[in-house]
């Protein structure tokens, strides 16, 4: 929690909470922010903080894997001085999916995310909820929040949509932000100048979203045919005839075989991380991320996976989800967090299980194309 939040915005009139303290804090905060951003930089392609000193938190026009940043909320009945009109001229009551980019101690320095154009969309995630919001405002910076650079202010209704408790406009905490992918036919078909393929080969991570995934295919055992095989060491051998995505899922599973089961384990972390423990949904999501089937920030309970992908069993991959549990089959081998099929089902921990279990009470889903 940060006290004395700087709350001056353009467009909506000048609004200051604790003006003198705020201005002083802003100056101090700008220095701290510059220091922090020089340490955190953009993070690498896979979302983990890196040491690159870009001076801004989120740069570039394209989608990114996202990162944790400090955020505050503003507006609402407890914060009437913020007004309701953003510096873009938008009425924020009519456009509640709004955020303000912060930074520095003047409006010209409100560029903590690189000076995003108005209406730039960001996916903002708090806990297990996420929402798209658009930049319609700017504001002054402030000190770090939980050690993270403070870069954006969430309009209070947006914060409420994310489940953030309303604290009269004074809430502060970490959120995860990422740029959503470009939309529109010209961008999807890579025919705009911004999306046209580069003449110089891009990095591997740019070429293949799954390249960011933790699962390296090198070293993954391969079995002939089209079914995965359980090996003596508990790992799975990927079928040689399977699509690349299936082999990537198996590679990701092999990374966390034998991890302890902890309810809630693995949640709240980027899927690119290897967590010390997993539960059913976080482990399944780790495997899906291995093939680039969910974004790095994806974090959902098992019930949410009841609507994943397409209905019914898949050719290679089938998830069985309910509000209480989720498990999956990958090329005929079951990925589960406990021994559910009786003796001979394998270990009681997280991993590959050779026996089929009952799917009563579960919804079958599969990734498109798999």
């Amino acid at each position: 929690m940060v006290a004395g939040v700087v709350r001056r915005r353009a467009g909506g009139g000048v609004v200051v909470l604790g003006a003198i303290v705020a201005v002083l804090a802003a100056g101090f905060g700008a220095g701290v922010l510059a220091l922090l951003t020089s340490v955190f930089g953009e993070g690498d392609e896979c979302g983990s903080p890196a040491g690159s000193a870009t001076g801004i938190v989120l740069a570039g026009p394209g989608p990114g894997p996202g990162q944790l940043v400090g955020a505050t909320e503003y507006g609402g009945p407890g914060d009437p001085s913020s007004g309701v009109v953003g510096s873009s001229g938008a009425n924020l009551l009519e456009q509640p999916d709004s955020y303000a980019e912060l930074g520095g101690d003047t409006f010209e320095t409100a560029t903590a995310m690189g000076g995003l154009p108005y209406l730039t969309p960001l996916r903002i995630t708090w806990g297990i909820r996420s929402a798209i919001a658009y930049k319609r405002d700017i504001g002054l910076g402030g000190g770090p929040i939980d050690g993270l650079p403070r870069v954006l202010d969430l309009w209070w209704e947006l914060a409420g949509r994310l489940g953030i408790p309303y604290e009269d406009g004074l809430w502060a905490g970490p959120v995860r932000i990422e740029r959503p992918p470009a939309t529109g036919a010209g961008n999807l078909l890579e025919q705009t100048a911004q999306t046209a393929p580069a003449l110089v080969a891009p990095s591997t991570a740019d070429q293949d979203p799954a390249a960011c995934a933790p699962a390296a295919l090198e070293g993954v055992p391969v079995a002939s045919g089209d079914r995965a095989q359980l090996l003596r060491n508990g790992l799975a051998a990927a079928p040689a005839d399977a699509p690349l995505a299936v082999r990537e899922i198996i590679a990701a599973g092999n990374q966390i075989v034998g991890k302890p089961y902890v309810y809630g384990g693995g949640h709240g972390l980027p899927l690119s991380d290897i967590a010390p423990a997993y539960d059913c949904s976080s482990s399944v999501e780790h495997l899906l991320y291995g093939a680039g089937l969910v974004p790095v920030s994806y974090d959902a309970p098992s019930g949410t996976l009841e609507s994943f992908g397409q209905a019914g069993p898949g050719r290679w991959v089938t998830l069985y989800a309910s509000a209480d549990h989720v498990f999956m089959y990958v090329a005929g081998l079951r990925w589960d967090t406990h021994n559910a099929a009786g003796p001979g089902d394998g270990s009681t921990g997280i991993g590959w299980h050779p026996l089929i279990r009952s799917d009563a009470g579960f919804v079958a889903r599969h990734p498109v194309g798999l």
């Binding site: 989608p63 969309p121 996916r123 996420s130 929402a131 798209i132 658009y134 959503p180 992918p181 939309t183 529109g184 036919a185 010209g186 961008n187 999807l188 078909l189 890579e190 025919q191 705009t192 100048a193 911004q194 979203p209 995505a245 089937l293 969910v294 974004p295 994806y298 994943f308 992908g309 397409q310 990734p367 498109v368 194309g369 798999l370």
Partner: protein, 178 residues
């Protein structure tokens, strides 16, 4: 002997004239290619377009509506159809898009679809054949959350039109700008 020598001289002179005439006359195709780096050939036949429209704006609206409304299963065929109804650079761009989307695993795996409407078509100032096109489009996906929650967005493109023999119109250039 003198007459033989005279004949030889005459032949030599004729041969030299022949050589000289050959060097100064129309160049061979190879010689022209050597000089200009272009091998001469007959001009290509004029391109034809299927479903050409009676007016330039109708051609643009029809083309763009098809360009922005597709899903992962249809996009390749849709782009091929657009290639057939356009000429020049636009045809090349659509042919390329058709080829690339036919093998685009990510599009199909994500279940990505695009939809939208043409909001405005206006002639570009100072140009007889170029138009600014404004669309409003939504992108969705059935198997990824990446596009979830995104509002429809405005996009701008430049279209170039060409009047075909017979008076009907087709797109000859297409450049999305955003």
């Amino acid at each position: 002997m003198r007459s033989r020598r005279a004949a030889a001289t005459l032949l030599c002179a004729l041969a030299c004239v022949g050589c000289g005439h050959s060097a100064r006359g129309p160049a061979s195709a190879v010689a022209q290619a050597d000089a200009t780096h272009e091998y001469p050939s007959a001009p290509p036949p004029p391109q034809t377009a299927a479903h050409a429209a009676p007016t330039a704006t109708q051609a643009i609206r029809s083309f763009v509506t098809a360009y922005i409304n597709w899903d992962a299963q249809t996009v390749s065929d849709d782009m091929l159809a657009l290639a057939a109804r356009s000429i020049g650079q636009a045809r090349a761009a659509m042919t390329l898009a058709a080829a690339e989307t036919a093998g685009d695993y990510e599009l199909r795996r994500g279940g990505i679809a695009n939809s939208g409407a043409v909001e405005a078509v206006a002639p570009l100032s100072g140009s007889d054949d170029r138009y600014v096109v404004v669309t409003r489009e939504s992108t969705s996906a059935s198997n990824t959350t990446a596009y979830q929650g995104l509002r429809p967005a405005w996009h701008v493109a430049l279209a170039t039109v060409h009047q075909l023999p017979g008076g009907r119109w087709a797109l000859s250039g297409w450049q999305p700008e955003s």
